[in-house]
Symmetry: C2
Subunit: 328 residues, 2 copies
DNA sequence: GCGTCACCTGACAACGTTGTCAAGATCCAT
DNA sequence: ATGGATCTTGACAACGTTGTCAGGTGACGC
């Protein structure tokens, strides 16, 4: 910048004014400055700029579990889109469900002085503790949680109606006459899984269906494991007549095994997925609007960044039952 | 930091030494400093730090077309993973196939003084011009291109063997006796599409199959459009006996329409996808290792960041034909 | 007693910006 | 002419760090 100033024969401050198109610069001088900028290939250093001005790095951080997962990819895409409308860059970090790593990444993001943070808390058996963020929040970093609530911190939160959705879905299974419903889940440590399981139990209790906890299988981490669990459950005496899969990775494995066996068990699955229509087994999915989840959270975040100091709010978005799959 | 220094009764520099655990600090002083850090909730300002030290923002930029697309999400996830091993953050930006936006985003990333840039160039009919990056490269920002080559710039590039893969696939169709092969593509402006189409033509030419350009359909932007194009082609006299879909979004629409009609046309498709095994129509996919693509590019980038000044290289990764889908 | 060396500490400037302020120029209405 | 308002410019300090350098202490060998 000093070089530009020298070349244009003006002061540093005038160059600064021109590159920020501030008022009160003679057109002729501005032109000289712009020429010098072009010749020298000058580019404003965003770091120095936001260091000086204290706030406004025009960057927000997004902390999710895993970028490659379509759910989080959709969230990231939506957040990036809204951020771009405000010329804000998005730093994405993955915690891989590890609370320690989550904390480290959040601290690092704060050290980079992001304007705000969108956080999907890492699931953990002990429950996450986000109280370390309080200092940052007071220091001016806005934080919004999505998909899962924070631990030990009051902040804006956007959730899905996991419990209500699961309840509705299982109600339908019960209404269709199912009494033995197997539930497959990834990890009971994760908030959304607990909620969905609770919703299923709500529906069973209200219908007076006895609860058989041998039908609930935790720790189903991937499609292959899901397939094995389905096989095992179907091979036992008095097998389940319906399956409830609590996430879409599990759903894939369940479908494959049910299709392979030509089973006629009912299938209820949390999470819609793009190819659900083309899958060779009929199922009911509990769908929701992932983009709306991300949009709500990101807009809430920007409202905070813009200075909204009102009381933190929690938004819960609805789910919907949708029939999917091919009836071959 | 000044507050910490005051509280611990030491100089700024000593605090700096402690928080960077530099040598030559008395344990007792270090302890006092750490106590002050904890009490005051001090957090090092990464911006100021990298401003001072000139280089090393510990941040890289990734420019892709669209985060929500699973292909790019996989790339982003892989890049983030490798970056994290080096305590580097990842800024992700989407160009949405718009070269002007791409240029603006790349300039912005450079202004943020990222250590390096991973770029999937935006496809455009006119071909992209990345010469504006030359100044940045000379100024010290490393750049690696992936999936598509840069325009007017010599830089490391990691590509897939689009042409070879398409050639192999179409060779197989021809070997099975197909003579009328329809090709559906998104946009001929995109490098990968041109290469794949060229590969298909290579195979036809070498087999002496006459080329009917009414069977090549450009501008197929989404699954619904693909379905309509398939319907139209099959309804005309002398319909194609095989379809070649040049990307996976098109493939979904083609499958749906072929399945709906109970067609027996052969289907060849570029890009594998997770549910390909469960789709109700047999197809051959041209698969490749997306993670390897991203890994190669990211490792190349870090080698450059670490000071590798050797001649820019271009890496081409192989593709593979895989049978997918259910034969109902 | 003196030089050498390793260890420890702090003053100061610098990184590249921009906010603050003061001062000069110009214009208009009194 | 005079006062005031508006426009235009630049000197300077500051943002929060860290590299450089100079200086201090103590131990050791001669």
């Amino acid at each position: 910048m000093a070089d530009v100033a020298a070349r244009a024969g003006v002061s540093l401050k005038t160059v600064s004014r021109v590159v920020n198109d501030a008022p009160y610069v003679q057109p002729e001088l501005a032109e000289r400055v712009l020429a010098a900028v072009a010749e020298l290939g000058f580019r404003r250093n965003h770091l120095a700029s936001s260091l000086r001005s204290g706030q406004a790095t025009a960057t927000i951080g997004l902390l999710i579990e895993e970028i490659a997962n379509p759910f989080y990819a959709t969230i990231a895409g939506t957040a990036a889109e809204i951020a771009r409308q405000r010329d804000t860059m998005l730093i994405i970090a993955s915690s891989e469900e590890d609370p320690a790593r989550e904390q480290q990444l959040l601290r690092d993001l704060c050290a980079r002085r992001v304007d705000g943070l969108l956080v999907v808390p890492a699931g953990s058996p002990t429950g996450c503790d986000h109280s370390f963020l309080r200092a940052e929040v007071e220091l001016g970093t806005s934080v919004v949680f999505l998909d899962r609530p924070p631990g030990n911190l009051r902040a804006d939160t956007v959730l899905l109606d996991n419990r209500g959705g699961a309840r509705e879905g299982v109600r339908r299974l019960v209404a269709e006459g199912h009494r033995r419903i197997a539930v497959l889940l990834d990890s009971i440590g994760v908030y959304t899984m607990r909620e969905r399981l609770d919703g299923a139990q709500d529906a069973l209790v209200e219908a007076g269906v006895p609860y058989d906890d041998r039908l609930v299988r935790d720790g189903v981490r991937d499609p292959a494991a899901a397939g094995r669990v389905v096989a095992e459950l179907l091979d036992q005496p008095d097998p389940p007549t319906a399956f409830f899969s609590l996430n879409n990775r599990i759903t894939l494995g369940v479908i494959e095994e049910l299709y392979r066996r030509g089973s006629d068990a009912a299938l209820l699955a949390f999470d819609d997925f793009e190819l659900a229509r083309l899958v060779p087994y009929p199922l009911t999915v509990i769908a929701y609007d992932t983009r709306a989840l991300a949009r709500t959270a990101t807009e809430l975040l920007f409202r905070r960044i813009d200075g909204d100091r009102s009381w933190p709010r929690t938004v819960v978005l609805p789910t919907e039952l949708v029939a999917r799959g091919l009836r071959l």
